[in-house]
């Protein structure tokens, strides 16, 4: 008898039927002659990179005790299981019989994601408020000083015309210098 550690990444689509999947998987494990020493159900987690266009996966870690002969059966089953994104079957010296650091990490990551969402919602609300008040201010400005705006645009036009003249003069002078050469 050897100790094995089996990590599964289950497709996210199965989330609603996850309990049924897990029950049937546990059953098939015991049918193959594996003893389940410890199960760690980590749950949904963001993948570090997409696998088959999936961005999230459901993680489970089994700590199993079984004979080497039944491993090939298990490998065969895992290989052709369409509900799995990845699996990793490792032989280990001894079982920890406790949760790995992944559970804690996932819980913290989920908390962070929630906090981010809450923050974003708050900011969006604030921005919406700011926009509303800004719109009101704009309306008030337009009502108070429509004449000033017009005069300023006229000034701008005159200024730009002056600049154009200056530019032309410069061009003439440069041409003249070229002729002299």
């Amino acid at each position: 008898m050897n100790n094995y550690e089996l990590t599964l990444i289950v497709k996210q689509d199965l989330e609603s039927r996850f309990d049924i999947f897990k029950e049937s998987f546990d059953k098939s494990l015991s049918e193959m002659g594996f003893q389940i020493a410890h199960v760690e159900n980590i749950g949904k987690r963001f993948l570090a990179y997409p696998i088959q266009k999936n961005n999230k996966g459901l993680y489970i870690i089994y700590q199993l005790i079984g004979s080497p002969s039944s491993v090939s059966d298990l490998e065969n089953k895992l290989k052709y299981d369409n509900s799995l994104l990845r699996y990793l079957l490792q032989r280990v010296d001894s079982h920890s019989l406790s949760n790995s650091f992944l559970t804690q990490d996932t819980v913290e990551a989920n908390k962070r994601a929630e906090a981010k969402l809450a923050n974003k919602a708050k900011q969006d609300a604030l921005e919406a408020q700011a926009k509303k008040s800004a719109v009101r201010d704009d309306a008030a400005d337009a009502f108070q000083s429509p004449k000033n705006d017009q005069s300023s645009t006229k000034d701008d036009l005159e200024e730009s015309a002056q600049f154009d003249e200056i530019d032309n003069d410069e061009e003439h002078s440069s041409q003249e210098t070229e002729k002299e050469d």
């Binding site: 990590t7 990444i9 993948l47 570090a48 990179y49 997409p50 696998i51 996966g57 993680y59 994104l85 990845r86 990793l88 790995s100 650091f101 992944l102 990490d105």
Partner: protein, 64 residues
């Protein structure tokens, strides 16, 4: 050399530990730079590679 925190026992699930030994682009920091013993570095390298396979750590920062 930056100081690293390395617990006596760790495996591919200790992401906080392993993240100290990868660069921003996801590469494994070499042993001559990380400053840990050769035996520790071998274990770190193996753990990072397993964690990458399980999509716990990125292979690169170029993933879509």
């Amino acid at each position: 050399m930056k100081s690293v925190k390395l617990p006596k026992k760790f495996n591919h699930t200790n992401l906080d530990v392993l993240k100290q030994f990868i660069t921003e682009t996801g590469k494994i920091i070499p042993g001559r730079v990380s400053g840990v013993t050769a035996a520790q570095q071998r274990k770190i390298t193996q753990s990072i590679k397993v964690a990458r396979f399980l999509a716990l750590l990125p292979y690169t920062d170029q993933h879509k």
